[in-house]
């Protein structure tokens, strides 16, 4: 009886998730064509067109966010594990967990209030900053945890050579954990790439090309949202195509993270 109930629960748990994936492929794949990657969106009500600008925009916003959050997150993680001491580390971890728990839409409101209001316009940069806030605590935490796996003996070996601690950390400890750090970073980027809510209030959206960081920019998640709630059949079709591309990207990053980790620890 218990066995049946628990097995049933596992099936019920997987069912909607599989349902989402199946629908995604069935609706997304036929709608995906070259136009999607090469053309701009058509004006309201006109069929056809693509999301080339949103694909590039997503890359741009995620790139900006990563450029800000990854170095800072890794450094913060290194600080937590190598320098903060027992109580300091606990405090830093707690704060970082609290930040990770702030709803992403609230992060969007914050960046809006600081950046968008100051610049008097929505911008790719604001979007990147919002995503950076999403990534930062995750990267910090994963770096911290990966560094914990570096044996204490390695640190002592470096110090015993008379190498100053900062050099030991920078050239011995951190490189020893490079695979794990990279893997954690990729996972954080994957998570941020699908974020929609904070981008609504920061990057906004754009029906045209934009490569300037100080202008509003289209992104895949926001396009999916806008097209999904529109009344047009053809836009729904394109929303599915965009969703498939987005999920494929996220999945690729996630698998990449696993691959990096396997390659790092599987060999030796």
């Amino acid at each position: 009886m218990f066995m049946v109930a628990a097995s049933l629960a596992a099936v019920v748990a997987l069912a909607p998730l599989l349902w989402v994936l199946v629908v995604l492929v069935m609706k997304g794949a036929p709608s995906l064509d070259l136009d999607f990657f090469t053309k701009l969106p058509k004006p309201l009500g006109v069929e056809g067109g693509g999301m080339a600008n949103a694909v590039v925009g997503s890359l741009m916003v995620v790139g900006l966010g990563s450029a800000i959050a990854l170095p800072l997150g890794v450094l913060g993680g290194v600080y937590t594990r190598e320098y903060a001491g027992v109580w300091g580390a606990r405090a830093v971890r707690l704060v970082s967990d609290v930040l990770a728990g702030v709803p992403s839409i609230v992060l969007g409101v914050f960046v809006w209030a600081v950046v968008v209001v100051a610049m008097r316009r929505f911008s790719a940069l604001a979007g990147g900053l919002a995503l950076a806030l999403v990534m930062l605590p995750t990267v910090q935490r994963s770096t911290d945890e990966v560094l914990a796996l570096v044996p204490q003996e390695v640190r002592e070996g470096a110090l015993a050579l008379g190498i100053p601690k900062w050099k030991a950390v920078l050239w011995v400890v951190v490189p020893s954990a490079a695979g794990g750090i990279l893997s954690g970073a990729l996972l954080a980027v994957a998570r941020a790439a699908g974020e929609t809510a904070p981008l609504l209030l920061t990057a906004l959206g754009n029906r045209f090309w934009n490569l300037r960081p100080d202008r509003p920019v289209a992104t895949l998640p926001v396009m999916i949202f806008n097209y999904a709630i529109s009344p047009y059949e053809d836009w729904h079709r394109q929303a599915w195509a965009a969703a498939l591309v987005l999920v494929a990207g996220v999945l690729l990053l996630t698998l990449g993270a696993r691959w990096v980790l396997r390659r790092k620890y599987g060999g030796s």
Partner: protein, 319 residues
């Protein structure tokens, strides 16, 4: 080599600069999350000033949200957020618990090692994609298959008796339950795995069935952690935005009926923020964001304390 030379050799080098610069730089990035958090609170507090001034705490009791007449009461959002999140926990937790038990107690090792990464991968599907699925598949399914059944069975209760709309609280709750499921299940799995095997084997040796073991050993030992996992799921549901926005109906009304359209705080922020016209409207939305942050903070804190106690702590990352 003489003594003098030796002294010179070991003498502290002038300017231990790099070490302290490195350290200072690191600690700055270490405390960056703290600065950001303080910044968020300060900025939201200031930006919500006009709304706090105009409505105070009564803001959360006000039933009318009317941008045209600049009357802002957040009760519809508070209510909608609570209803959908509670529904999410009610639907999601039993399934999450069951599947975690399945993975830990029943599944053969091979299934376990296959299921875990699959669940993790699926947890990475973006919220907006769930929303898309929700709009075009879940909502029609619920309104054509599930809701008639509920009406027939429980129509006597005001919960299930209104005409309502396709996009409603129930749809919001169900989609949230799907989204919190992987989180809750994976923490429960960790908590169950942390229950010492000797305890379980001891009970088995006394002739207990698997269910007895779960009931008398696993659950009591893991209770705190499971409650923690539930709170983490709740926190996630409270702040989740896109998927709910796309299925909940987005009408700032309050209804006891689960088939009625509603609104959540996060959804209001997503929909109205960029279109808000007046200063008071904007400030009211920021006020809402501040409240949302405060509540998720409390729920997260409770969750973390509970889970820490069970898994023994700081070394375990919880997201």
């Amino acid at each position: 080599m003489g003594l003098e030379a030796g002294l010179r050799l070991l003498r502290r080098r002038k300017g231990r600069g790099p070490e302290s610069v490195f350290r200072a730089g690191l600690s700055l990035s270490g405390f960056l999350p703290l600065l950001i958090l303080l910044g968020i609170v300060a900025v939201l507090w200031r930006a919500s000033g006009p709304a706090r001034g105009a409505f105070g705490l009564r803001f959360f009791w006000g039933r009318v949200w009317d941008p045209v007449h600049e009357v802002f009461g957040a009760l519809p959002f508070v209510y909608g957020t609570i209803v959908t999140s509670v529904l999410a926990v009610l639907f999601g937790v039993p399934v999450a618990l069951g599947s975690a038990l399945f993975v830990v107690e029943i599944a053969p090792r091979r299934v376990r090692s296959l299921l875990t990464p699959v669940l993790d991968l699926l947890a990475g599907v973006p919220s907006v994609v769930y929303g898309l699925w929700g709009m075009f598949y879940l909502v029609p399914f619920l309104s054509s298959r599930v809701e008639p059944l509920l009406r027939r069975a429980f129509g006597f209760s005001p919960l299930f008796s209104c005409t309502g709309a396709q996009f409603n609280y129930l749809a919001g709750g169900v989609i949230l339950s799907v989204m919190i499921l992987p989180t809750v299940a994976s923490i429960c799995r960790e908590v169950f795995l942390a229950v010492p095997t000797e305890l379980k084997e001891g009970a088995m040796a006394l002739g207990a069935t698997r269910w007895d073991v779960v009931r008398m050993v696993t659950f009591p030992v893991a209770r705190g952690g499971v409650i923690g996992a539930i709170f983490l799921g709740l926190a996630r549901a409270l702040g989740e935005t896109m998927a709910v926005t796309m299925v909940v109906g987005n009408r700032p009304e309050i209804s006891a009926c689960l088939f009625a359209p509603g609104y959540t705080a996060a959804a209001a922020l997503a929909n109205e923020f960029t279109e808000a016209a007046g200063d008071v409207h904007l400030a009211s939305l920021v006020y809402l964001a501040l409240a949302l942050m405060f509540v998720t903070f409390l729920v997260n804190l409770i969750a973390r304390l509970l889970v820490w106690k069970v898994t023994g702590g700081e070394e375990r990352g919880l997201r």
